[in-house]
Structure formats: structure tokens, C-alpha cells
């Protein structure tokens, strides 16, 4: 766990640039909603900042919004001139943005947009698109399985996570028409508090008891997907009921290779991190960078300059893309029994 250690370093190569540049503070939200924050985002951001030779400080609020604000206070106290935040909710996010602004500190919304917050920039994936890919993925797998009027269950993300709302909007956009047309049947639906995988297991077990004929599961990310797969396995239904996911975690990819999971959505976090870091570094140097597009904040109605990345759907046949991208290493993925499946999937 070296990644846990936050580095406050100045790289000597670009000391001249750093001399003028201010310090950048990054606040990550938690480590239980997804593995990505600590394993991917932190790593890629650190690399980007080191390369730019700026001082930085990355901290994780661990799903505690009081801590989130305290960390923001402390970063400003420590001399940060740019903050990049993944908010826990728009309200506390806005409080941080307001306080920072009043002190002349610029703020970038990273991955999650702070509604009504008025951040200087927004960097993310197209989250509705993520949901769309999941919805399309599930239909594809159901078609492959030649399912007839399948009952589809939802395991939504945390009710408090705004991205979860966007994902749902995405997959509803694909699946709702099919429910309406009668091709699919809408099954039970639950939002999993805090993306808690243990709770998700019991929730899904009870869905299945109440509605034994569930034929497809839209799980909002790989952790929730794995919880559903465990229950399906117990009932001998794994591989027969397709399950979706998100984040291309090692666990999710292994489940795909094993045939238990239908698909996941790969978000090339490196791109997101690089884009965010680029904006932050520019701001820290006192520049006014321009963004490629903009997003309309539905609450304030203002346009926020934005950089939006494209997510990619991953099925068994293109798991190798994720490895090739360096997001997951072959060593972690192809352990034990999976070595053979990796070869089969063309991963080298």
C-alpha cells in the first residue's frame, strides 16, 4: 500500500516552473464505493503532477462529509491555490467551493459535478453514457442468451451519489422502452446504500426469493455485480443470468472471463486524471486554460467549462484492451485458474 502515502514533493527537473506555481489539493470521496479512487485516480494524478513538477496533496474523505470540509480547510491553510474535488454531495461540495472562492482559490469538479456549485471547470466521463452502455450491454447478453420476456432486476448505486442517478438515467433510457413494449419485464429494484456490497448480497438474495425468475441483473458497478453473482452461484444460476458492472476492476474482469458477468464499463481513468491535472497545473501557474466543451449545470443554469471522456464497454472478447491500456496488469488479473482463461481471451 504505497499508494496510500500522500506525497508532498517537488520534483527538481522542473523546479523553475514549480517556483511560481501554487500548490494543488485533491480530495477523493471514499474507498468503498469503488476501488478506482485509491488504485487508479490517485496513481494517475500523482504521475501527472510529478511530471509537471508541482506541489500537490491528495487526500481521501472516506465518505465523511465533515471530514471532507475539514480536509478542504486544511489544504487551504497549508497553502493550496487550486482544489480539485470529487464531492460527496453537491451541498457540502458547494460549501467548499464557496469558501475556497472567497479565499481566491480555484476549484475543479473532478468526476462528479457539484450542482449549483459554480466550479471553474468540470472533468469527468459522460456518466449517462456509462449507463447507456450498461443497458445496451445487458440487452446484448440477454439476446445472446435468447431470453424470452426476461425479468430484469436493478441494483442501483448509492441513493446519495449523484452519478448513480445519471447511470440510472442512462440504462433506463435503453431498457424502459423495452419494458414498455413488453419485450422485457421490469423486476425488483433497489438502491444500495453506500454501495455496500454486503448489503447488496442480502438485498439481491431477497429479490431472488421473491421473484425467482429473474433473468438479468443490471448492477451499477463491479462490486454490486459480484454480490449478485455470489448469490447466483449459490443457486447454480451463475453464467445463466447476465450481470453488468462498471469500473473494470480486477474482480469484475475475472468474473467476465469466468463467464459469470456479462460486461463492465471501462473508464480510462488515466485520461480523466491527465485532463484534470493539466487544468489544475495551468490554474496553479496562474493561467486561464480553455476547456474543449461545456456542461449546463441544471440547478444554476450556468455553463461550466468541461472535459468529458468517453467510456468503453468491455465484454469477454475485449478484456485485453484494458490490460493493454495498463489499467490492470496481467499479473493481478491472470492468477491461478484465470491464467488459462486469459490465454483463451488473448491476453498477453
Amino acid at each position: 500500500g504505497d499508494s496510500g502515502q500522500t506525497t508532498t514533493s517537488t520534483t527538481s527537473e522542473s523546479a523553475t516552473a514549480a517556483a511560481k506555481a501554487g500548490k494543488i489539493g485533491v480530495i477523493l470521496p471514499d474507498s468503498k464505493s469503488s476501488a478506482r479512487w485509491e488504485t487508479a485516480d490517485r496513481k494517475y494524478l500523482e504521475e501527472a503532477f510529478k511530471a509537471a513538477g508541482v506541489e500537490y496533496d491528495i487526500q481521501n474523505a472516506q465518505n465523511d462529509k465533515t471530514a471532507f470540509q475539514t480536509i478542504a480547510d486544511q489544504m487551504i491553510t497549508n497553502g493550496a491555490t487550486v482544489l480539485m474535488i470529487v464531492n460527496l454531495d453537491s451541498g457540502s461540495g458547494k460549501a467548499v467551493i464557496d469558501k475556497a472562492k472567497s479565499q481566491g482559490v480555484a476549484v475543479i469538479d473532478y468526476d462528479r459535478l457539484t450542482l449549483g456549485g459554480g466550479a471553474a471547470y468540470y472533468v469527468s466521463f459522460d456518466n449517462t453514457k456509462v449507463g447507456t452502455l450498461q443497458g445496451e450491454g445487458l440487452s446484448k447478453c440477454l439476446t445472446d442468451k435468447k431470453a424470452d420476456k426476461p425479468i430484469v432486476a436493478y441494483l442501483n448505486g448509492s441513493p446519495t451519489d449523484n452519478n448513480a442517478t445519471l447511470f440510472k438515467a442512462g440504462y433506463d433510457g435503453v431498457l424502459k422502452p423495452k419494458f414498455d413494449s413488453g419485450d422485457y419485464v421490469k423486476g425488483p429494484e433497489e438502491s444500495v446504500p453506500d454501495w455496500d456490497n454486503t448489503k447488496a448480497g442480502t438485498l439481491f438474495e431477497q429479490m431472488l426469493t421473491e421473484q425467482p425468475k429473474i433473468a438479468g441483473v443490471l448492477a451499477a458497478n463491479d462490486g454490486l455485480g459480484n454480490a449478485a453473482i455470489t448469490i447466483l452461484k449459490k443457486n447454480g444460476l451463475n453464467g445463466k443470468v447476465p450481470v453488468t458492472g462498471q469500473d473494470a476492476t480486477v474482480q469484475g474482469l475475472q468474473n467476465i472471463l469466468a463467464g459469470d458477468q456479462c460486461m463492465t464499463v471501462y473508464k480510462a481513468v488515466k485520461k480523466e486524471a491527465d485532463a484534470g491535472a493539466k487544468l489544475a497545473v495551468a490554474l496553479a501557474k496562474g493561467e486561464k486554460p480553455t476547456a474543449s466543451s461545456s456542461v449546463k449545470d441544471p440547478e444554476s443554469g450556468q455553463d461550466v467549462p468541461a472535459e468529458l471522456m468517453e467510456p468503453q464497454a468491455i465484454y469477454a472478447d475485449n478484456v485485453k484492451d484494458v490490460v493493454a491500456d495498463g489499467y490492470v496488469t496481467k499479473e493481478e488479473l491472470c492468477t491461478g485458474d484465470f491464467a488459462a482463461k486469459c490465454t483463451e481471451a488473448g491476453i498477453q
Binding site: 456490497n197 421473491e210 462490486g223 454480490a227 447454480g236 476492476t249 480486477v250
Partner: protein
Amino acid sequence: MSKVKELPGEAIVAATQAPSIGNSFRAYVQRVRGGDMGSLPAVLGLVVLCAVFAIARPSFVTAINFANLFTQGAAITLIAMGLVFVLLLGEIDLSAGYASGVCAAVLAVTLASLGLPWYVCALAAILTGVVIGVVLGALVAKVGIPSFVVTLAAFLAFQGLVLVLVKEGTNISVRDPVIVAIANKNLEPWLGWALYAVCVGVFAAIQLVRATRRAKRGLTADPLSLIAFRVGTLAVLAGVAVFVLNLERSRNPALVSLTGVPIVVPVILVLLVVWTVILRRTSFGRHLYAVGGNTEAARRAGIPVDRLKISAFVICSAMAAVGGIVAASRASSVDPNTGGSSVLLYAVGAAVIGGTSLFGGKGRVLDAVLGGAVVAVIENGMGLMGYGASVKYLVTGCVLLLAAGVDALARRRAAAAGLR
């Protein structure tokens, strides 16, 4: 059961005259009416809950749901069983939840990264629990920091430790077939019946031996009829349970067959029996009650209070480790949330609902199992109802209150009768 001293003719009439089924039953009714409820409220609460859920959702009374109940409640129940020991002393362990997370993470890491055999890894997890217990116990007993503070600090530290072990937030899969089987597989039907036969047989034997031994010494002993009644009740109830669990409950019997007693059931049973014997029939257990009832009196009786406190924390953390292993098995993975969120509160709640006192001196391991069953039935039933998160929280809270209310009102009535 109780030894009655003979009183002069005009003296107060003794509660139990000669033990027989009739008299024992009358004495029991009197005891209950007098306020010594034992586990009745928890059992009553359980029955009411089951009835309500069964009416609201017919799927509640299916074989599959019955089997689900056991696996869903197992981890909490196991942690609660350990907590009983700490609560008996009037102490608390807020860190038991995350301790189970740490131990589960140790299991997952040793399995995944080191590739050791499952029993070595399980042992490592339990040993981790033991070490945790020693440290917590020593801080409480030897240094004298209140257990609330020690375990609050541990609650934080273990959260950090889990993160370190799962590399700051990854999800470690548990794929070892034996470990996964614990919470996901079932005993062969014949094994279920064998287990049943052993349990009922041993119970009958113990009852008989004890009665004859007491009779030989001239102490009041339970009559054969009463023993037969007890053994019969157990045989019928356990028989029905085994029978139902041995029914086919697969959604697709052609594809896969799903029958038998879930493996967690014998795990819980064995631990229940072992800990109950230790609490009730060894001097160690006796001393735990004594320290919880009156620490000073225990100290004056020469009981090594500090050592006892440390042992209680060790048992608690070790049971948390067992709970963690079951949780890891059930989720087939470990993540930073394992043992977190409401695990601890539910476990303490289970012990308390079962009848264990937070102020020490009163409690049984069976309490944890009964209370754990109440908590599991509420979660299970609410899961079937398909409410949204908010309604579910609200209803769960109210149901919990109702279950505890039965108990409280019964005791109230008893207190009004002068017993408390």
C-alpha cells in the same frame, strides 16, 4: 431444578413441590408471570414477526427463504456471540465489526496473494482476532482506559488496517472452494439427519445422566416424564427444521439441486454448545458472571479480574474473526466495507434483544442466537417487501422497537409484581 428446603408446617408454601411435568409447567408459568421471562420475549417476538411476514409475503415461508435466513444472519450472530462475553463484564467492544473486517482481509490476502491452504488462512484470521483481543483487553484491564474509548480508537485504527490490507480500496475475491462453501453450500441430506440424531441423542443422554446422578445424591432431580417431554420437543422442532431444509429448493431442479442444512448451521450450533458449556459449567464462566455482577466481590474472592477481562476480549475478537470468515465466504470477497456500516450495532442489538444486559452480569450465548434471528428475520422479511431504502429503515426501526417492547412490557409487569 431448584433445591427446596423444608419449612415448618405453617411456613410459606414452596414454589415447586415435587418435580413432574405438571408441576414444572405450573412453576414455569408462575415464574413467567412473576417476571423471570428468560428467552420468552425474544421467542414471542420472533413468532409474531414470522407470522406477519408470512401473511404479507407468502414467499417468506418457502424452504429457500428458510435456508436463506440462516446464511443471512450467520455473521452477525457469530459476532454477537462473542460480544456476549464482553457485555457480561459490563464492557463494550465497538471495534468488533471492523475487527471481523481485518480478520476477513487477512484471510483473503493470505488466500489470494500467498496461496496458502484454506485452513492455514482461516487459522491466521482467527489468530489475528486473538492478538487483537489481547491488545484490547490489556489496554482495558491493565492500563485502565474505558473500553468504550479503547474500542472506539480500535474502530478507527482497524478501519485503516482493512484499507492497508485491501490496498486502499480494492475488492479481494475469495475463491477457495472450502471457504466459499461455509456460507454458500449445504450438508448432504443424510449428514443433516446424522447431525440431528447426534444432537438429540446427546441431549437426552446428558439429561438422563444428570438426573440419575442427582437422584443418587438425594438432591431433587427432574423426573423421567419431564425429561421425555423436553427431549421430545427438541426432537420434533429440530426434525421439522431438518426436514424442510432437506426439501428441494432449487428454482431449476433439473439444472442444479439445492437441498440440505446450510453448513453455517452446524458451525453456529457447535459454537453455541461449546460457549454455553464454558459459560455455564466451568469456573471460568462462573467467574465471568461474578465479575459482571460485582467486580469488587469477585476481586475479593480471589478471582483474577484482569486476566478474565483480557480473555473476554480475546473470545470476542476471535468470534469476530469467525464472523468475518463467514462474511467473506458469503460475499466471496472482502472490501474496505467488510465489517463496517451497521454490522457492529446490529450485533450488539442482537445480544441485547436476546436478553443480555449492557451493564454486565446477565446474558447467555443463546441470547445472541435468538437476537440474531430476530435481526435476520427483520432484514429478510423487509427485503421481500420491496420497499425503498427510506421506508425500509423506518419500518425496520419500528419493528425492532416492537420486538423489544414485548420484552420490556413483560418485565414491567413483573416489576409491578415486586420482582426485578
